[in-house]
C-alpha cells in the first residue's frame, strides 16, 4: 500500500504501522509490539502511571534534579579522580587493615589497608566508562541495525529480527561471562561485551520507532521527491528515532553499570591491579568473616553503587516520561 511495499515486493511484511491490517500480519504486529513492551517492562523500568496526567509527565521535578546532581558528581569524580586530593587507591597499608571510618579514611580501610573512600571514587571510573561505552555501542550498532531493518523491512528485517531474537535468547549474564572468560579481560572487551548485550533491546526499539516514522508524511514526501534511502534514513528518520533511544540512554546505562558490577562480582570484569570497580570492591569484602568484622568495606561501595543506579533509573525514567517515549515508540 505504500511505496515501500512496492520496493520490497513483500506485501505481508508491511503490516506494521498505524493502518490496521488483517490476518496473520496484524497478529505478528501485535506480537512485536507485545515483545517490545515486554522488553521495556523487563528492563526493570516501573511502568507509566495511568493516573498521572500529561502535565505531571511534562514536569521533571526536584528529585530529578537531585538525581542528575548525583550523576554529575559521579561523572566529575570519575573524570578527575587522579587529580582529586584523595589517597592513592592502590596504596597498600595506607592505614591498618580493616580500620573503621575515621577522619583520615572517611570510608575506612579494606583488608589490605587501602583507603576505601579513594577506591570508591576511582571505582566510578570503570563503572561509568563501561556503562557509557556499552550503551553508546548498543545505540550505534543496535540503532543502525534497527533503523535499517525497520526502513527496508522484508528479508533484511526478518534476518535482523532473528539475530536480535537469538541474542535475546541468551540470558545476558551467561553471554557476558562466555565472552569475558574466553577473551582477555581488558576494559575494551568488557565494555564491548556489555555493549553487545545492549544491541538487541536498543535495536528492537529503534526498529519499532522507525516503523512508525517510515509511515509519516514527511518520509513519504521525501521519497516522492526522489531522495535516496541513505538520505531518508539519515536526514528524516534518524533525528526522530534518536529521541526515543536517547531518552532511554540513562536507563540502559543503569543496566550496563549493574552488568559490569555482576561481572566484577564474579571476578570476570576488567582485570588488573589498577582496575578498581565497585563490584570487585563489594566481593572483596563479602566473605562471611569480612562481612561481619569489616562491614564498611562492602557497604560503602554498595551504597554508592545503589545511589548511582537509582539516580540513573530515576532520571532516566523521568526523561522517558518527559519525551513520552512509549507513545512515540508505538
Amino acid at each position: 500500500m505504500t511505496a515501500d511495499d512496492r520496493k520490497t515486493g513483500n506485501p505481508t511484511a508491511s503490516g506494521e504501522g498505524p493502518v490496521p491490517r488483517k490476518g496473520r500480519a496484524s497478529r505478528e504486529r501485535l506480537l512485536w509490539r507485545f515483545r517490545i513492551l515486554r522488553l521495556v517492562r523487563s528492563s526493570r523500568v516501573p511502568d507509566d502511571d495511568p493516573t498521572e496526567d500529561a502535565a505531571v509527565r511534562r514536569r521533571l521535578g526536584f528529585s530529578f534534579w537531585l538525581a542528575v546532581a548525583w550523576l554529575l558528581i559521579m561523572a566529575f569524580v570519575a573524570a578527575f579522580a587522579p587529580m582529586l586530593p584523595v589517597a592513592d587507591p592502590t596504596k597498600v597499608a595506607f592505614g591498618g587493615p580493616r580500620e573503621p571510618p575515621s577522619a583520615d579514611a572517611w570510608f575506612g580501610t579494606d583488608a589490605l589497608g587501602r583507603d576505601v573512600f579513594s577506591r570508591t571514587v576511582h571505582g566510578a571510573r570503570i563503572s561509568l566508562a563501561v556503562g557509557g561505552f556499552a550503551i553508546v555501542f548498543g545505540m550505534v550498532v543496535g540503532g543502525s541495525l534497527g533503523i535499517v531493518a525497520g526502513y527496508f523491512r522484508g528479508r533484511l528485517d526478518q534476518a535482523v529480527g532473528f539475530a536480535f531474537f537469538v541474542l535475546l535468547s541468551f540470558p545476558s549474564l551467561v553471554l557476558a561471562i562466555l565472552i569475558t572468560a574466553t577473551l582477555d579481560r581488558s576494559l575494551l572487551v568488557v565494555s564491548l561485551t556489555i555493549g553487545i548485550l545492549a544491541v538487541a533491546p536498543v535495536g528492537l526499539l529503534a526498529r519499532a520507532s522507525t516503523l512508525v516514522f517510515a509511515e509519516r508524511e514527511f518520509v513519504a514526501a521525501a521519497r516522492v521527491l526522489g531522495a535516496r534511502h541513505g538520505r531518508i534514513i539519515v536526514r528524516e528518520l534518524l533525528p526522530n528515532v534518536v529521541i526515543p533511544m536517547g531518552a532511554l540512554t540513562l536507563l540502559g546505562m543503569a543496566i550496563a553499570v549493574v552488568a559490569e558490577g555482576s561481572l566484577a562480582f564474579l571476578g570476570l570484569s576488567v582485570a588488573g591491579e589498577d582496575a578498581i570497580s565497585w563490584g570487585k570492591m563489594i566481593v572483596d569484602g563479602a566473605g562471611l568473616r569480612d562481612l561481619q568484622n569489616a562491614t564498611h568495606v562492602t557497604m560503602f561501595p554498595v551504597v554508592v553503587m545503589f545511589l548511582t543506579v537509582l539516580s540513573l533509573n530515576f532520571a532516566g525514567d523521568r526523561i522517558r516520561q518527559y519525551f513520552d517515549v512509549k507513545e512515540l515508540a508505538f
Binding site: 515483545r35 540470558p171 545476558s172 551467561v174 574466553t182 558490577g261 563490584g279 566481593v283 563479602a286 562481612l291
Partner: protein
Amino acid sequence: MARFVVRRVVLLVAVLFAVTFLGFSAMNLLGDPLVNVVGVLAELDCEGIEAGLVEDTTVDAASRDCDTVAAAKAQYHLDQPVPVRYVLWVGDLATGDFGTSFQNDQPVSQVIREKLPETLILLVMAQIVSLGVAIPWGVIAAYRANRAFDRGSTVASFGLLSVPNFALGVVLLYLLALRWQVFPSAYEGDNLGGLVFSMVLPAVTLGLPLAASYQRLLRTDLITTLQEDFVHMARAKGLPPLRIMFRHALRPSMFSVITVFGVSTGALIGGSLVVEQIFGIPGIGREIVTAVVRDDFPVVLAIVMLVACTFVVLNFVVDLLYSWLDPRVRAR
C-alpha cells in the same frame, strides 16, 4: 491459529540452533579445546616431530605423546572444522549424549541432573516470593492509588529495582544471616527442610526486585480494571472493597504479570549466577561460572543450551498464551 503455532515452532527451533551454534563456535574458536583434553601436550608440535624437525621429548615410549594427541583429536573430532564438529555434537545431543565434563569425567547429563534441582528450587522459590510480595502490595497500592502508601511504594519499588542483586544479596546476608542470625549463612543440602530454609535468603534476593516490577505492572493493570463496568457493578452491589479487589479485579489484572513471566525467568537465571555464588549454592549458576572459567566446553554448552531452551520455550509459551488470552488477538 495452527499455522501460527507451526510458524512459531519453526522459529523456535531455528533460534535454538542459532544459539547453540553461536555458543559452540565461540567456545571452539576463542578457546582451544585440545588444551582441555590433553593439557600441556596441546603445545607439542606434532607435525614438526613427525617431519623430524623438532626433537621428540616424550618421556617414556617413543612418540607416545603425539599418539595421544592424535587419539584425542580423533575422539573429540578436533581434526574436523567447527561446523562439522557442531553437527556431530548436535547428533550426539539427539541421542541423549551431552558429552563428558573436562573437569571431572562425569557425564554432563549427570552434572546437570545433580545441579539442576537446587537451581530449580531457587527459581521457584524466587517466583513464589516475588508473587507473594507483589500481589498484596500491588493490590493495596492500587486500592489506595496516589495516596501516601502508593507514593511510598513507588519510591520503594524504584529503590528495589535499583539494587544490583549481588549488592542486595550481600546486604541481606549481612543483616539476616550474620547480624540477626535469622537464616543460615550458607547452603545446607542435607535434608529438604534445611535446604528450603537456607534458600530463603537467596530466593528473597532474587525475588524482591522482581516483586517490585510485578507490583508496578499489577498496580497499573488493577487501576485500569477498576474502571471497568463489572467492578462498578460489584461496588454497586455493596461487596466489600477487598473482596472486589481479590475476587473480581485481581484475576483480569494479572495479564501483564503473566506476560513478563518468561522474560523475568531469564533475568532470574542470570541473577542465579551471582546469588548462588554469594550463598554457596551448588546449582547450575555456579556450575556454569566455574565451567566457563575452566573452559569446560561440554558443560558450558550443555548449560547454555538448557538455559536458552528454557528461555525460548518459556517465551514461546507466553507468546502463545498471549495470543490466546488477549481479546484483541482472539477476536480476529
